[in-house]
Symmetry: C2
Subunit: 223 residues, 2 copies
Amino acid sequence: MPRIHFQLQLAELKDKLLAMAALSQQAVQASVDAWLQRDQGLCEYVRENETAINSAEREVDDMAYELLSREQPMAIDLRFILAVIKINGDLERIGDMAVGIAVRTLGLLDHNPIDLPVDIAGMGDFTGRMIRTAVQALLDGDALVAESVRDMDDEMDRMNRVAISDLTALIQEKPETADQALAAILISRSLERIADHATNIATDVIFWVRGADLRHQLSLAVD
Amino acid sequence: MPRIHFQLQLAELKDKLLAMAALSQQAVQASVDAWLQRDQGLCEYVRENETAINSAEREVDDMAYELLSREQPMAIDLRFILAVIKINGDLERIGDMAVGIAVRTLGLLDHNPIDLPVDIAGMGDFTGRMIRTAVQALLDGDALVAESVRDMDDEMDRMNRVAISDLTALIQEKPETADQALAAILISRSLERIADHATNIATDVIFWVRGADLRHQLSLAVD
């Protein structure tokens, strides 16, 4: 019975982490939309949302610490809880990066958007997909899906490199675009870092699942 | 006796983390020097050093997991071990950022360094001081010293904002400097992010120490 209670608590911890993931993902989406539409309301939404993300982070951390200290979890559950703590930290930093994008956008609200050689919308969608896939891998405990996120990161790095090079060329050709082109470079860089955090999440899922697999195989061998 | 053994293991864990911190800090210093001197050898040193950082990270993580699963540590020790796991992650990412600086420098080795309105050397020293102070706070379990790192972060943010604004102005005035000025912007940004990681480390030290304090006060109250 206490064991069933513990499993229920682990499920609740997972739910809390998923709620946290939804908040971070919304923040990224909203910050990208804010930039694309130069929308002040969305910028402010992202900044206010940060408080909600920070409390969600604390809730997950508190519950994880409580489970660790009260329940003395076994190896597989221990690895899961440690993965949750690390993933939680990455989700919080994803939220921070979204705030950074919103703040940068706020600084350019009075500039008319110009045509820039960078697909911020596409990069935003791609990052969103990486976060969702990493979280899905966590839900399903699926190391293969988690691996696919790591492959996606290479594509994101490539998009960021191309964006920086194209935007630098534009600045050299038309220096009057420097403000906006530079903001786009820094936003592209932020999206690439958000993708890195999604990759960290995927790596923690692999650590959790493979650790469990390994242990499972060992116990089979011993049996 | 087993308790003394456990305390010795905690001390060993701390030593391993300090070795990890030394490696990350060296990487930052070397990457800044590599940029300032456009030194290919230093760039390669930073890239090779990454392997050492990654194994040091794994060693710390493995020992922390082992202690958690075998020793069922009490609350204060549990918080310490969790802080070590988080700090370890930040140190590894500091190493990553240093590699990023080195790779960016490698791309500009064939450009003669020009005079840029940014004090990368000063920012590098300041970041180094933040990492050292955060690690010292961990060594001494000193929340006040850790707080001081968080104050330093505001100064670092300010330096980065000034650098971005001055370098953007330069690019607008002299578009032919765009390559180098942009690299300097991204390096300034990386140093600012390294400072963020030092701040995360300081926050984890506070979490550990204050958690311990709080518990200590509670137990006094109960006594």
